[in-house]
Each structure stands twice: as structure tokens, then as C-alpha cells.
Amino acid sequence: MKPAPFDYVRPRDLGEAVAALSEFEWGARVLAGGQSLVPMLNLRLSPVLRLVDISGLEELRGVEEDPEGVTFGACVRHGEFEDGQVPDPARGMMHHVAGRIAYRAVRNRGTIGGSLSLADPSADWITVVMALGASFVIRGAAGERRVAGSDMFLGPYSTALGEHDILAAIRVPKLGRSARWGYYKIIRKAGEYPMTTASVVLDPDRGRSSVVLGTVNRGPLEMARMAAGMQGAGTWSAQLEGNLREAIRLDLETAGRDQDSCEMKLCETTLLRAAQSALVQ
């Protein structure tokens, strides 16, 4: 379990990084925190010809806050969210989620941009940034472009990033004063990958509610009916729970998620508990 030989480049700025990627038609990979990529290299799962190490690029570690939101450089680490070193536009949600990603050793190195670029469907950040309505700043050979959250994640390990693109920043809008959120995941063992995750964000000030489900082997799923059912919900009740169960069933059915009964149960439980925690906060 040692990697095959690869070329290693440590660019001085983002432009150089994109150029270094572009020199290979395929097989050049971006190295940020390395918490997923390095084990994959060691397992020799797929050929990697060049690593472009962006972990030293200061321009990817910046955080800009304005009245409407916060823009996080892609190389901000999970541990920085956990430790409150960066502002939290989501009224504590990003701080909460970050502190539960894998183990502290992973959070010390792993980055939000690295996690989102890989798009492992069971990783924590994807459903969160989608529910928060984040957008993404992507740098490629043709320059910079912005992608909305719903257009970013195409499926498991599949994103809008091209072969020579680098995710530069994540823009997260600020939640309103009366916003509420919930996050829940089902894990067999503390620190391991979840079986299911769910993020719920209710933001009446902005007239927005969002529910996103994450599972192991399918892309993140926006639960439109469930989100509608949550809109304006005051407190948790048996009636609300019943309505949400039905909404969940229809959302999954519409999306063609013909999971087996066990996966259905886990999805339903995760979504309901995320919803409940949003309302009892």
C-alpha cells in the first residue's frame, strides 16, 4: 500500500496550479488536505500522473465576510470551522457539522474544498452547503466561473468541475435571524463515514426552506416536498411527522430512489430527525 510514482508540483498561485493541471490531458489531480486522495494513492486504485499541491496557496485560505454572506477559500480546514476560527454564516450549523467530521486528525488537515471536490456522497459537507444555498467559485483554464449548489453535484464522485478545474471558493449566504437548521447522520461507529446524512434549513426571512439527503451510493437529493412541508412549521407534532413521512415517500419515489426497505428506513429516520432537531432548537 504505497503509491506508484507520480509527478509532484507545488505551484505559487492559482494560475500556476491550473496551468500545471492543464499540462496533462488526464491523470493530474489536485492535492489539498489529502485525507481521501492519499489513501486512494496508496491503494493504487487509479493511475495518478501528477499531484498539484495547492495546500500552500494563501489565496485559497482566505475568508471574506460581507453583509450578505461569507466566502470561504477552498483550503479552509474542517478544524477551523470546528474551532470557530472562521465566521459561521449558518448560525452555528457549519461549526456543528465540522466538529463531527471523521476524527480530529482528519479535521486538522482535511479541507472543505477538497471534500466538496471529491463529492463522496456520504461525506458531511455536501448536503449542508446545498441546503444553505451555497455557490461555488471555480477556476479553470478559461478563467473564473460561478456554479450554483444545485448544479455542482452531479452524482457520487461527480461534480461540475472539469479535468483542469480547481474549486477556489465556496460562497455561503447568511441565514436570517429567525432561521433554524437541523443536521443528522447515522453512523455505525463514531468517526466513520455515515450511512445517511440529512440537512434541513428553514429561513423564513429569506422565504427559503431546504432539505437535502445524503446516502452512500447515490448523489445528494433535494427533498422538495419535504422542504415545502417544513415551511412555516412551528413545532414538532405527530401530525407534522405524518405529513413529512408521506412527503419523504413521494420525494424518494419521484427521484426514482427504489432503495430496499432498510435503506428507506434509514433515509426516513435521518430526515425526520434532522427536521425535528431544526424545530426543537
Binding site: L43, I186, R188, K189, A190, G191, S261, C262, L266
Partner: protein
Amino acid sequence: MAQSNLALSAQPGAQAYADAGDDAARFGPRGIGARLLRNEDARFLAGHGEYLADLNLYGTMEVAFFRSPIAHGRIRSIEIPEEVRSRVFLLSDLGDVRPVRAVLNAPGFRGSDFPPLADGVVRFVGEPIAMCIAPTRAEAEDIAQQIFVDFEELPVVTDMLKAADGSAPSIHDGWPDNVCFVSTPGNGDMAQAERAAVVTIERDLHMHRQCVVSLEGRGVLAHHDRRLDELVVYSSTQQPHIIRTVLAPLIGVEENKLRVVAPDVGGGFGVKNNLQAEEIAIAALARIVDHPVRWIEDRREHLTASPQAREHHYRMKLHADAQGRILGLESEVIVDAGAYSIWPWSCAMEANMSAGIMPGPYRMDAYRGRGITVMSNKPPLGPYRGVGRPGACFALERMMDELARAVGREPHEVRIDNMVLPGQMPFLTIAGKLYDSGDFPESVRRAAEMVDVPGVRAQQKDNGKDGLYIGLGWASYTEQTAHGTNEWLSRNLTEVFGYEAATARFTPDGKLILEVAIQNHGQGLETTLAQVAATELGVDPADVVVRHGDTAVSPYGLGTFASRSMVMAGGAVGRAAQMLAEKVKRIGAHFLQTTADKVTLEDGAVVHGPRRVPLSEVARAAFRHAQDLPPGEEPGLSVTTTFQPESGTGAFSYATHAVVVCVDANTGLVKILDYVIVHDCGTIVNPMIVDGQIQGGLAQGIGNALLEESPYDETGQPLASTFLDYLLPGFTEVPSARISHIVSPSPFTRYGIKGMGEGGAIGAPAAIVNAVNDALHGLGVEINETPVTPRRILKAIERAAKGDRP
């Protein structure tokens, strides 16, 4: 020291220990029974342990094994690019090397060869085919990646039930099917039991295959020492002397020119308790190259190519009267032993052990056991903490809970009524095991009190609220430890592990060195053996050097496994130290102008009333100034001796586990709320180490019960090859058990010590699965397999809701 057992004095052989509560008076203030911190922790906690990967021999080349990517096939050809050919070694490149043939001396046992590198056929994914050497492991793996093997694929056997019923093709040449061995222990009149039975419980149960995970994987480094003309093999092993003995003839080296060293070993649990194919291959390679060669097992190899564990299928039938008194037990265990037979245990160890120990702590009039060992295209099965017994305990204890339910009684009460009584000790079980001492029912009574049965039953009235269900589970078991000559002979093993050896010697400055043949890899033996010496010699155990794990530093002995080292090596150290003490006393008494029977050894000195001679003075005379010795006394202060327990059938520890769990019916997750263990391992040498062993075994038992599983698909590909898929319990999954001790010293061992390294792992799978069943019984759920994963629990709830019985 823990609570002493008041029933003790009624037991044979126990009189000498009737004052078991006062170890300090009997064994010295820092001797046996003292709560001492471990001597070895100074280096381990500072990161100064020296493991195989830490060895730094000039010119060492690293080895990567090229391993079979398929589960069963005949090798048509192997292509190796010419530019790396000199750095690739196949079996045919190694000269005269013989395969291992691990058999039992029992009629009907089918033998098979296990070559160190593939000899024309591969039989599991991960089987070594070639060795590649390079200055670094990464470069060695680059070479391995360039090898291409053309296979003729052969039918793959992965289903043990098909292997057992003869419907799968045989994987070994000349065998009619895949059944290796069938053992049929038992006794009594089963027909009578069936006639008398009011209740008969029948179940099929399954314990899935597991990996054995040690923190440090396996590893071997070998080189030829030119000065000594000696082949030196460093191996992360539990048994260096035995490895030398069996390795020598396989690679054509004489034992006096072969040294085997186990450096610091980062956990064994049985996976390093076998002769490994890789050990033979690396040692053979070192004979033909002019530099050291080293292989360090990586985690993927550890999970897919190391000896694995468990994989039992049980068919059980329990006959009882209306009160739940057991009349007869019929049990069949089928074990999937994988592709090869492992030396020295043989592939039949697991099934034989399970069938042999099956009746557990209970009395019964009839037992009919059947242990069936079958081969398959999976990695070979080897010993793992508990060996056979976690499965046997799981099967029988699940039946006990079902029996209790059938007769409408509390499970712990049915257990108490069926147990061997203290007055019956020593007790010969229906399966022929000789239980030496103990009060089994008391362990249940005390556990029931500690776990508060009525309190738990009251809590259960709320079961179902928020989808949460509380359950109480039980498991009682006996743990055969330190089995000696008779037991190994009765198991028909080719090796007989009946004794241990030790040297106790002073250096000329009066400090003590113990040289032992066992290997300490987490058991605290560098401390506990020093405590034994302290008991006999009055030395400070913190000041005693214990050397082990090296054929060049100790007398011949057999190693650390089967919960034997404290009894066997402890006994040998005790005897050697006692003999040494006699000489020290004679010399000291001479100095004090009295006789040896008038002096004692205390605080590093020979003491006679107010006068004392320090051991340094005794050693000075013995080594450097023989003129000061008593007339006729030989110079030197060194004794080498051996120890065998009085009975070769072992000292039996036992325990009762009681666990309270909460099952979340919406996630299938199980949370452990309380874990109680009432345990008896006779005389306790170091209470902190004993509790640590119990807790560590429990951790692995929790893994067995809830998390750990090594599944294979129908083509024989492993589905858990990293820790992403193979889940181990971590800190957050393992609660601290509440442990209580009963102390029933063994009449057969020195100091009354019993082994106790495996028990935590034996009881936990049964207790936890029983608790899950107790929790979900109201939903009509019954689960009879391990691990109880969320999927298995949710599926069982779903089946029950549809009205399907399991």
C-alpha cells in the same frame, strides 16, 4: 485484592489459599497480588518500543508480495519483465523449500500442503505467489505491478454449507469433498433425554467470518550473520522457539544455526501464533541473497491475507424439563477453515474446540457434539482470542435464553439451576473436561445483583417509546487456560505445549534477570513475572529485567498463547526463583553466622532479626569472591528450570457477563448502557492487568457482536479490505465494564493462578446478541447471527412485522 470466595475452603486443594484476601502477607508487599504499574510502559508510552519496522540493518531490501488476485486457479504462466526478473522470486527460485503440512494425529484427518509461495495452484485471494525486492516498499510494489499471471480459473467454494454437504467441488487434489475432519465428542443417553424432555429448543445460528486485527501487522526480517554462520529471523511472532524448530527443516537449516527473535510485538491475539507462509518465504530468501530482506505487512494484507477467524454455523437442539433443567444437548458446528491448514493448530482446531467446550458451565446427562471442518477458497482460519469458544458460547447461551423463555423463567435463574456446583469440584464434564475449581452460580447471582434485574425489567415497560427498546442479555462460560500435556495429546496435535522454562539469574551487582521463552506483547508479563520473582526473592519488581522472545536469550519454551504464559512461565519463574532463593539464603546465612532456615529475603537483602546482608554482597561473593562462600557452595547465582501444572487438562477460569442495551428500531443501532462482568481467574497476580485484559477482550467481543465482519462474494473476493469496510470498535463504542472478582485458586497450578487472556472476548457476543433479542422480543424478533448490524436488525424487525418467523 478482590473479594475472596467464602466457599473456597470447601474445595479440594484450596486450603493453602484459604486466606486469599491477604496477598501481601503471603506473597510480599510488591509480589503476587500487588497493584503495580507496568515496567514496560516506560518505553511504550514514550514511543520507544522497537518493532519490526523500527529495525535498522544496513543494506536491508524491502519485500512486496505479489498475491493472487483470484480465489482459485491453476497458474498457466507467469510473465515477468526481463529488467526486473532478478528482483522477483518465485517458489522455484528459492531452492530447497518444503511446504507446511499441518495435520492432526487422528484417524480420518485429511492433510494438505501449504506452500510458502504458490506451487502451481492458488486457493484464495491474497495467496503469495512471488516476492519482489527493492530498496523501498513502493519500488517493490512497482515491480509487483509488472507481473502478469495467466490463470486457468477453477470453481470457487465460498459456501461452507455446500462444502459440508459435499455438493461443492473439492479444492485439494485427491480429496473426495471439502470435509477435512469430523470430531464427535459426547456422552450419555440422548434417547433417554429426548423421551424425558418437556421442552425441546431447536435453532440454527451463525457467527460470520472475522479478521484478527492487531495494531501492528505481521512482519519478518531475515539475514545471514556471517560471523556466527547463523540465519537470523526477526518475526513479529508470539512463539519464537517453536518457529525456529519447525522452520529449520523446511528451509534446510539446522536449529543451532538459526536464531528467531521477536522484537516488540504490537499485539498478537493469535494471528501471530502460527508458522506463516511469509516467514518461510523471507527466511528462505535470506539464504540466497547477500543482504537483509524485510516484509512488513500492510493493512490490506492484514485484512485479506492473514489468518482469519470464526465463521461457524451451528445446528443446536436442547432438551429440558418443564423447569428448564437441561437433559441433553445435541449440537453440530460447521467451521469454514479456509484454503489451508495452519501449523501447528491444523484447520480443525476451531471446530474441535467449539464442540469440545460446548456444554459450558452446565450439568447435563447427555451431550452429542459434532465438529465439522470444511475447506473453502478463503484465507486460512487461525487462532483468535477465544478460539472456538466465542462461537460455542454464543450458540449455547442463545439457546439458554430461548429455553428460559420457553419455560417462562428469568434467564439467569435457569442458568443458576443448571450450573456445576462448587461442591462438585473438581468436576468432569459430559464432554470430558476437568473443571478444577470455582463457584459458577455465584457469578450469576452477583451479576444479577449488580445489573439490577428488577430495575431493568421495570425500565423495559417503556419499550417502544420513540422506537427505543431496552434489553438485558446474559452469557456464562468457562475458559480453559494453560492446558498442558494431556489436553494437547487428547486433541491429537503434533506438538505438545505442556510446560514452560525460565532462567533466573543475578548479575554480579546483585540485580535480577529473568529469561523466559514466552513473548510479551501487551500482557504485562515484564511486570507480572517480576512480581512472581519478588514473591520468592524479596526483590523490587521495578528493578527486575525480564528478557523474552529470543531463542538466543532464554531456555527453550513454547510461547504466548492459549492464556498460558502467566500460569506456565509464572510457574517456571517461581520455581527457578525459589531454587535461587535457597542458595541466596545459604550464602546470606553464612555471612550472618546462622542457618538458611532462620533467614528471610526482604527488600533486596537476606534478613536475620535486625541484621541484613544486601543481595549485592551475596552476588559479589557468588561471582567474584568465591572464598567468601560457605564451604562446598558452587560459585554463580543462576537457575534454569521448567514448570508443568499438576494436571495437564488446564485451569478453568469462568465468568458471567450481563449487559443492558438500547436498540433503536429506527436505525438498527445498538447502544450498550451497562456492562457487568463477574469473573474468576483464581489468584490474581496484578489486579490492574487482569481488569485490563478483561476490558480488552470485551472490546474485541463487542466488535464480534456488533461491527466486525469479513464477507466474501461468490467469486471469493474479499469485500472488506480496508478499515472503511471493516469496522473495529473504538473508544466511543466500548464502555468500561463494571468488573467483580471471585477468587477460587486452581489446585493444579503454582500459586493457584489461572490464565485469563481470552474471556472478555468469549462472553460478549453471546451476551450482547441475547440483550438485543431480549429488547426486540416484543416485536416478534429473533436474531441468531453475529454481528448484529443495523441492516440485520432492521430486516428482522421488518420480517417480524410481516409475520414471518425467523
